[in-house]
Amino acid sequence: MTEIVRSASAGTMESSDVYVEIEPGEGGIELRLESVVKGQFGPAIEEVVREVLGQWGVENARVSVRDRGALDCVIRSRVETAVKRGRGNG
């Protein structure tokens, strides 16, 4: 399990990017999603965010995702970067 020990962020608010903030949380993943394509891709975005968190062993965190139409590979990158920036050493 990976513990998020500090607030961290990754990405930008530019078009085709996504801004991800992560901070320590309790009792699971608390996910907040804003997206310019929420109607068309909301569930897909949420799924990929949770998948990446799972891959990196993050079980408890508050995550905010502000999406500007990013592709999956970009969302994956920004979530992973935020996790690595917010996790404890080792």
Binding site: G39, Q40, A44, G69
Partner: protein, 471 residues
């Protein structure tokens, strides 16, 4: 000389006999700098007139005060060719009971001339006018160049009021609209904000995807078989379309081809092409920037044309019928090549046909230029939310990821393939985009009809529904 000059807009409205239930009309040459529509509607409201229909060749965000007039039932009907997003959003919420009627820039004058959409009083903003009503867009602090879209209003409205901020001595020479059509003239402080009327210089895009699209577009024209002596061309003012014009110019100069005319909304880029010898003339229904205004004022090869002359399907002929190539945009296009330029991805109104359908119908090659996807939304869909221009009039779609040719254009397809261009079936292009973005879920639409899209021939082509959660 007093001539037809009256003291105020209010007086002109009264003299013209404007009453409840009538139709007033406006042109959009002052674009997002126009004060005239708001000034007139404010006076009409003050005079207690209700239930008016506004017939405007286009509506912009500056016309947001219309929303108040809709709330207070001063305005109960809208007929237009284009509506910008801020106004469109409210219409899509369903604030107007009667559906908005969208026409094309050619369909509007056609339906006015045929008496399908009679105008009671036309209010014509004029950057220069004399006391008898001869007027022009080429001179004055609010100069906008061509007054092409105002011609049908002047010619067919029951009463015509010219509103100017630049009253000159009789006779104004080089008029666009002659006094023979005009009933009253009003002089006001300002008819518009020059900053919103014309842009300084229109820049070609620096966006890499836009540049690739533009290069592909120029190559499609190069190998279409149409690029030869006497070639004619229209393009929009979007960044990628302008870049395509720039690349086309390079090809034409390299191959020493002189075209017969450039058409349309004219930008500085088209003026550059005229001056470089790419065309013998420009036929101008509307000027987009200062360079175009300067050119139409000084260069006799740069001619003003009326909306009828530009695109009407019911007059004896129109320039679009002689057009070789037009480059057009799209918010979405379906696998039958139907194009939507009326609504955004959420279904909210944010545009309109303008001359889209007219030039597509007339041109030998109607090209859509658009990115494969925008903010993760693929440009090619199974079915567009609104058919602005029917697929039978569209020949080719150019994206950065490939070029799709309409089935009906076998010869064009063969030419492009032979030239080594990346030609794909439109279904393949759709799958390619969805492979990158994922397949978007279809958004539910609302129940109410908020707008009707009238074809250029005057028939109902499609309807636009309200946006749910907003109605």
């Amino acid at each position: 000389m007093k001539g037809k000059v009256v003291s105020s807009i209010r007086e002109a409205i009264s003299l013209a006999g404007l009453k409840d239930g009538m139709t007033v009309s406006f042109h959009h040459h002052l674009r997002n700098g126009d004060y005239v529509l708001n000034l007139v509607m404010e006076e009409a409201a003050r005079l207690g007139i209700r239930d008016l229909t506004v017939n405007a060749s286009s509506l912009f965000d500056i016309h947001l005060p219309l929303l108040d007039h809709i709330q207070s039932h001063v305005v109960t009907g809208i007929q237009t060719d284009y509506m910008s997003a801020a106004l469109g959003r409210e219409i899509s919420r369903g604030i107007l009971e009667k559906p908005v009627q969208f026409r094309t820039h050619g369909g509007r004058p056609s339906d006015i001339a045929l008496g399908r959409t009679p105008i009671d009083v036309a209010f014509i903003a004029a950057p220069a006018a004399d006391p008898m009503g001869n007027c022009s867009g080429k001179y004055g602090k609010s100069a906008c160049g061509s007054l092409g879209y105002a011609y049908p209003d002047a010619m067919y409205a029951k009463k015509v009021v010219v509103i100017t901020d630049n009253l000159v001595d009789y006779p104004l020479l080089d008029w666009s609209i002659p006094e023979s059509y005009v009933d009253y003239v009003v002089c006001v402080e300002e008819i518009g904000n020059p900053k919103g009327i014309v842009s300084g210089t229109t820049q070609i895009t620096r966006d890499p995807v836009g540049l690739v699209m533009a290069q592909n577009a120029a190559k499609v024209i190069q190998y279409s078989g149409l690029l030869k002596e006497g070639f004619s061309f229209q393009t929009g003012a979007g960044g990628a379309s302008l870049a395509a014009a720039k690349f086309l110019k390079d090809i034409m100069l390299r191959q020493q081809i002189q075209g017969s005319f450039g058409l349309g909304g004219i930008t500085g880029y088209m003026v550059d092409m005229l001056q470089a010898g790419c065309f013998r003339s420009l036929l101008d229904v509307q000027c987009f920037d200062l360079k175009a205004v300067e050119s139409i004022r000084t260069d006799p090869r740069h001619q003003e044309i009326s909306a009828m002359h530009y695109a009407s399907p019911s007059h004896r002929s129109a320039v679009v019928d002689s057009l070789d190539v037009v480059i057009l945009g799209a918010t979405e296009i379906d696998t039958d090549f139907n194009v939507n330029v009326h609504t955004d991805s959420a279904g909210s109104i944010m545009g309109g046909s303008g001359g889209h359908s007219d030039t597509a119908a007339g041109a030998k090659l109607a090209m859509i230029i658009a990115p494969m996807f925008r903010a993760r939304l693929p440009i090619v869909t199974d079915r567009v939310a609104c058919v602005s221009t029917p697929g039978r009039d569209i020949d080719v779609l150019v994206t950065q990821g490939g070029i799709a040719v309409n089935e009906k254009d076998r010869e064009l397809k063969e030419r492009l393939v032979a030239a080594g261009l990346p030609v794909l079936d439109i279904h393949e292009l759709k799958e390619k985009a969805e492979g990158i973005t994922g397949k978007p879920r279809k958004l539910p639409r609302g129940e109410r009809t908020v707008a009707e899209v009238i074809s250029r021939e005057g028939t109902l082509q499609d309807v636009i529904y309200s946006v749910p959660g907003q109605d």
